[in-house]
Amino acid sequence: MVSMVVGAAVRFDIPRGLWLDEAISVSVARMPYGAMIHRLATADNHPPLYFTALWGSIRLVGQSEVALRVPSILFGMLLIPLVYLLGKEAYDRKTGAVAAIFVSVAPFAVWYSQEVRPYELLMVFGVLALWAQLRILRRGGWYPWVVFSVAVVAMVGTQYFGVWQLAVQELVFVGAIVLRWRRHQRPGALLRGWVSSTVPVALALVPLALLMKQQYSADQATGQAFGGAASVGINTGSHSIYSVITNFGYSIIGFHSTSVMSEVNSFWPLAMLGALALLGRRSKPVTYLLVAMVAVPVTLMFVLAGFKGSLGDVRYLSTTVPVLLLLMARAGTVLATSRRALNVVVVGVVAVMAVGLFDQQFSSSNPRRYNFREALARVNSHARPGDIILYDPVDDELNTVVDYYSPHVRSAPLSPGSSVKAGHTVFVVASPTLMNTSDRSTLYSGLSHLGEHGHRIEHWVFPNVEVWVYR
C-alpha cells in the first residue's frame, strides 16, 4: 500500500512537457477512430492498442497535459501491485513486496508512467502474462489461461517487440509439456490449455501481422525503413557492449547525461562482485525463466541493433525492466541473511533509485528531456500579434507540440527562404539533438538566411531545445 501511495505521488508529479514522440501519439489520438487506424497503418509502425486507449482517454478526460498521460499513469500504478503478485507467485510475499517497492520508485517505470507512449502498458501486459504463466505451470486452472491469452495479445497489440517475450513464454510451455511427458507427469491438462490458448492467440495476432505488413510496406515506400524511431539524445544505438550496459543502467537508475552514464558504466566490476555473491545459491527453475525473459529479448535486440542502431534502446525492451527489478529484489531477499540486512539493502537500493529519479526528472542534462513546454512558454510571453514561430525539425510532430503549447501564435516550418517581416518577431524553435548532420546544416543555413534579413536579438537554450529570436 505504501508502495502504491509513493508510486502514485511520484507519477503524478510531472516536471516535463510533451516531446515529439508524444506529439505523434497526441496527433494520432485526436483523429476520428477510423482515421486514426488508417494513419497508423499508413504512416506509423506501432500496433493500435495504446492509441485506442489514448483515443478513449482523450474523449473522456480531455487533453490537458495530465489528462493525456492518464492511461500511462494508471497503468504505471497498476504495475506496482502486479509486480508484487508476480514476485509472490514466483517466490514469496517478501520478494514480491521488495520488488513492488523497487518498481514504485524505479526511474524507468516512473518515466514511462508519465510518457504519452505505449511502453508502460507493455510492461503491465508483460508482467501479467508472466504471472499467468507461472500460475498455469504451478496450479493449472482455466482462468490463468484466459489472463495469459488476453495479456500476450495485448502485449503484442501494444508494441510489436512484445513478441520476444511471447516467444520465450511459448517455448517455456512447450518445454514444460515435453518435460512432464518425459517424466510421466500427465501433461494432458497443460497441453489442452496450451492448445486452447495458442489457437485464439494466433488468430488474434493475424490482424496485427497484417497491420504490421501494411506498415512495413508504407515505410518502405517512404524510404524510412521499418521501425524508423526518433533518436533520443544519448546514442545508445551504438552497437557495443557499453550500449547494453548503458541501457541496463537506464532500466535501473533512469535516464541521465552521457557523462553520468559513462561514469556509472565504469563501475561494471561491481557487477562481478554481485555475480560472485550468488555462488553457492542453487537457482530455482522460475529464476531461469525470469532470466530468460530478460536475456533472450536483450540478446535478440542486441543482434537487431547491429543492423539498425536505433533499435538498441531500452524502451523497446520495456517488458524486461520489471523482471529485472524482480530479480534484483530476489537477490536482495536471498543474500540478506536477516531482516535488518534486508532493510539495509532495500533502503540502499531505493535511495540510489530515488537519487536517479530526482536527477532524471529535474536535471537539464537528461538527454531524453525535451523542454518544449518552457521554451514555448517563453515565446508566448514575448510574442505579439503578427509574430511567427518557425520550427525545425519540420515534421508534423513538432507542429503538434507548437500548436499544443502556443495555440495563439502563428507557426510554420522553417524553410531556407524564411525571412523576417518588418516590425514582427520570428521565433525559431528547434531541437538540434533530434537532427542528423544534414538537417542541422539546413537549420543553420535557414538561420543565417534569417540573419541576413533581420537581427538576431535573443538565443534561449533549454534542455534539448533552442530558440533563436529575430526581428
Partner: protein, 521 residues
C-alpha cells in the same frame, strides 16, 4: 568419556553433505556441463585471442605479466573443464568374495584433544566388513591415549620420536601391522561402520592400491571458517574427485582411504621426503602402475579447521606440499594423462601469484597511471571479458552442484598470500615445522593469522582514498570499482579472524549453514 552411541554415525549425513550427489543429480549436472563446457571453452579462447593481439599492449611489462597470469588461469580453467567433462562413470565394483579380510585401521595422533580422538577410535572399532585391528598411533606419548586405546580394544603404539611426522608415524606402524589392507583415518575423521563394506570390493581388482573416500567436514555448521572450508572441500571431493576418478588420476588425500599393503610395500611405505605424504604416495603408486580409485560416498565425518589459525596452518601445509610436488610430478615416470592431472592440481597452489598481480593492477594504475592494456582498445575488453567471466562462474557453480559458496571463494582469495609463502618456502628450501591443524576453535580474535591480508586491505583502502583525492575520471572510476570489489572480497574472507570465533563444535552458534541449505536464488 564419549560413549559408543555418541561416537556412532547418525543418519543425517546425507542432508549435511552436498558432496555426495545422487546419480540422478549427476546426470542433470552432466547434461548442463555438456552444453556449458564447449561454450566456456569457446568464450575463453575468444577472450584470450582478443587479449593476445599486439594492439592491446599498454605498459609492456604489465601486459606481459597480465598475459602470463591470464594464460595460467586459462590453463587452470582448461584443466577444470577436462576434469569435469562428463564421462561414463566407472561401473560399481563387485561384492567382496570370500571371508572378511583382516584390515588394520591406523589412527595417527599428535596433540589432538582426547574428546576428538575418542569417538574416532570407538567408531573405528565398529567398522563392519572386515576383521578390524585398530592402531592408535600416538606421536606424543600421552598415557591417557593408552587408556583410551585399551578402553576400545585398540592397539596403542608410541614410537619414541617424531621423525618424519605423520609419514614416519604411519611407516612405524606398518612395521608392526600384518593385514593385507590398511585403512587410514586422521584422528578427527570418524569412520562410518560401512566403510569397508563400501570400499573393499574395489580391492577385487588386484591393481587397485588405494580407495579414497571424501573428506567431509561435519562441523561445517559451527562457524564461518569450517563452513567455507567445507565448501572448498566439497568442490574437490565432488566434481573434481569424480572427474579424476574417471580419468584414473585420483590423488590419495591422506585420510579416509583404504590402501593395499602390497602396494605400500612396493613403493617403500609412506614417502617421508616432502610435506604431504599423500600426494607423494600417489605419484609413487601411479609410477608403479598401481591404481587409485575414488568412491564418492561419505564414509567418514571429519572436523574441518574451526578458526583462522587452523585454516591457515592447514592450507599452508597443503600449498607447500603441492608446490614441492610439482617437481616430483614432472620427474615422475607416470602416464601423461595422470601427470597432467596431477600437475593441474599442484599448480593450482601457485594461483596466489595471479591474485597478487590482479590486486596490484588498480594500485599501480592509481599511483603511476600505467595500465597493462592499451586504453584505446580497453573499451572493447568487456565484450570479451564479461562472457568469459560469467560462463566461468556458471561452470563452477554447475559442476560443483552449488556446493562452492561465495564465502569459500572469499576465504580462498583472502589467503592468496599462503600460496606465495609456500612457493617461497619451496624455492628457498626453508624448513617448515609440521603443524597439526587445530581441531577446536581458539575462540579468540586472530588478526595475526591474516596479517598479510589485512596489510593488503590497508593498501587497497589507501589507494581508494588517493584515487578519490586525485579526482574520479572514467579510468579511475573503473579501477576504483575493482579496488572496492577486491576489498569487499578480502574483508569477507578475513572477517572470521576479526571477530571472536564461535563456541567449539557441538553448539550451533551464529549463522553458518551448508551450501545446500542456502535459500535458493
Amino acid at each position: 568419556m564419549t560413549t559408543i552411541d555418541e561416537a556412532m554415525w547418525h543418519d543425517d549425513v546425507r542432508r549435511e553433505t552436498p558432496v555426495e550427489v545422487t546419480p540422478e543429480r549427476w546426470k542433470s549436472i552432466d547434461r548442463r556441463l555438456r552444453i556449458l563446457l564447449p561454450i566456456s571453452l569457446t568464450v575463453s579462447v575468444g577472450y584470450l585471442l582478443w587479449l593476445l593481439l599486439p594492439q592491446r599492449v599498454g605498459n609492456p611489462y604489465l601486459f606481459g605479466l597480465l598475459i602470463t597470469a591470464q594464460l595460467f588461469n586459462f590453463v587452470q580453467g582448461l584443466g577444470f573443464m577436462w576434469t569435469c567433462w562428463p564421462r561414463r562413470a566407472r561401473p560399481p565394483w563387485p561384492e567382496l568374495v570370500g571371508p572378511p579380510p583382516d584390515v588394520d585401521v591406523f589412527i595417527p595422533v599428535y596433540n589432538e584433544p582426547l574428546d576428538v580422538v575418542g569417538p574416532v577410535v570407538a567408531a573405528a572399532g565398529a567398522i563392519r566388513g572386515g576383521v578390524v585391528n585398530v592402531f592408535l598411533l600416538d606421536d606424543a606419548g600421552r598415557p591417557e591415549l593408552a587408556d583410551l586405546a585399551e578402553e576400545w580394544g585398540a592397539r596403542y603404539v608410541h614410537r619414541g620420536d617424531n621423525t618424519n611426522a605423520k609419514a614416519g608415524n604411519l611407516n612405524h606402524a606398518l612395521a608392526l601391522a600384518e593385514a593385507p589392507f590398511v585403512a587410514i583415518f586422521d584422528c578427527d575423521h570418524m569412520p562410518d561402520p560401512r566403510f569397508l563394506e563400501a570400499t573393499l570390493g574395489a580391492m577385487e581388482d588386484p591393481d587397485v592400491a588405494v580407495v579414497q573416500t571424501p573428506q567431509h567436514y561435519s562441523n561445517a555448521r559451527s562457524g564461518r571458517i569450517p563452513a567455507a572450508a567445507a565448501s572448498q572441500q566439497d568442490l574437490f571431493f565432488g566434481a573434481i574427485g569424480r572427474g579424476k576418478d574417471t580419468l584414473g588420476a585420483m590423488i590419495c588425500c591422506g585420510t579416509n582411504f583404504l590402501v593395499r599393503r602390497d602396494a605400500l610395500d612396493d613403493v617403500g611405505g609412506f614417502p617421508v621426503e616432502g610435506m604431504i605424504e599423500d600426494v607423494e604416495l600417489s605419484i609413487k603408486l601411479q609410477a608403479a602402475q598401481w591404481k587409485i580409485v575414488y568412491l564418492n560416498q561419505v564414509l567418514a565425518r571429519g572436523l574441518g579447521p574451526e578458526d583462522m589459525a587452523a585454516y591457515v596452518s592447514q592450507q599452508l601445509r597443503w600449498a607447500r606440499g603441492c608446490v614441492y610436488a610439482i617437481g616430483l610430478v614432472i620427474r615422475g615416470d607416470i602416464p601423461w594423462r595422470i601427470r597432467l592431472q596431477y600437475l593441474h592440481s599442484c599448480l593450482f597452489f601457485l594461483s596466489g601469484w595471479t591474485i597478487l598481480f590482479y590486486l596490484s593492477l588498480p594500485v599501480i594504475f592509481v599511483f603511476t597511471g600505467a595500465e597493462p592494456i592499451n586504453g584505446s582498445t580497453s573499451s572493447q575488453m568487456l565484450l570479451y571479458f564479461a562472457p568469459y567471466y560469467a560462463i566461468s562462474l556458471i561452470v563452477v557453480a554447475v559442476a560443483g552442484g552449488g556446493s562452492y559458496t561465495f564465502e569459500a571463494y572469499c576465504l580462498y582469495i583472502a589467503n592468496f598470500w599462503l600460496q606465495i609463502a609456500a612457493t617461497i618456502y619451496a624455492l628457498t628450501g626453508a624448513k617448515m615445522i609440521w603443524v597439526v591443524t587445530a581441531k577446536q576453535s581458539s575462540q579468540r580474535r586472530e588478526p595475526g593469522s591474516v596479517a598479510p591480508a589485512l596489510v593488503t586491505l590497508g593498501v587497497l583502502a589507501v589507494t581508494m582514498l588517493v584515487a578519490i583525492a586525485h579526482g574520479v575520471t572514467l579510468s579511475v572510476a573503473n579501477n576504483l570499482a575493482f579496488l572496492v570489489m577486491y576489498a569487499v572480497v578480502i574483508l569477507i574472507g578475513v572477517w572470521p579472524a576479526l571477530v571472536r570465533a564461535p563456541a567449539p563444535t557441538g553448539s550451533r552458534p551464529e549463522t553458518p549453514v551448508m551450501a545446500s541449505e542456502l535459500e535458493e536464488w
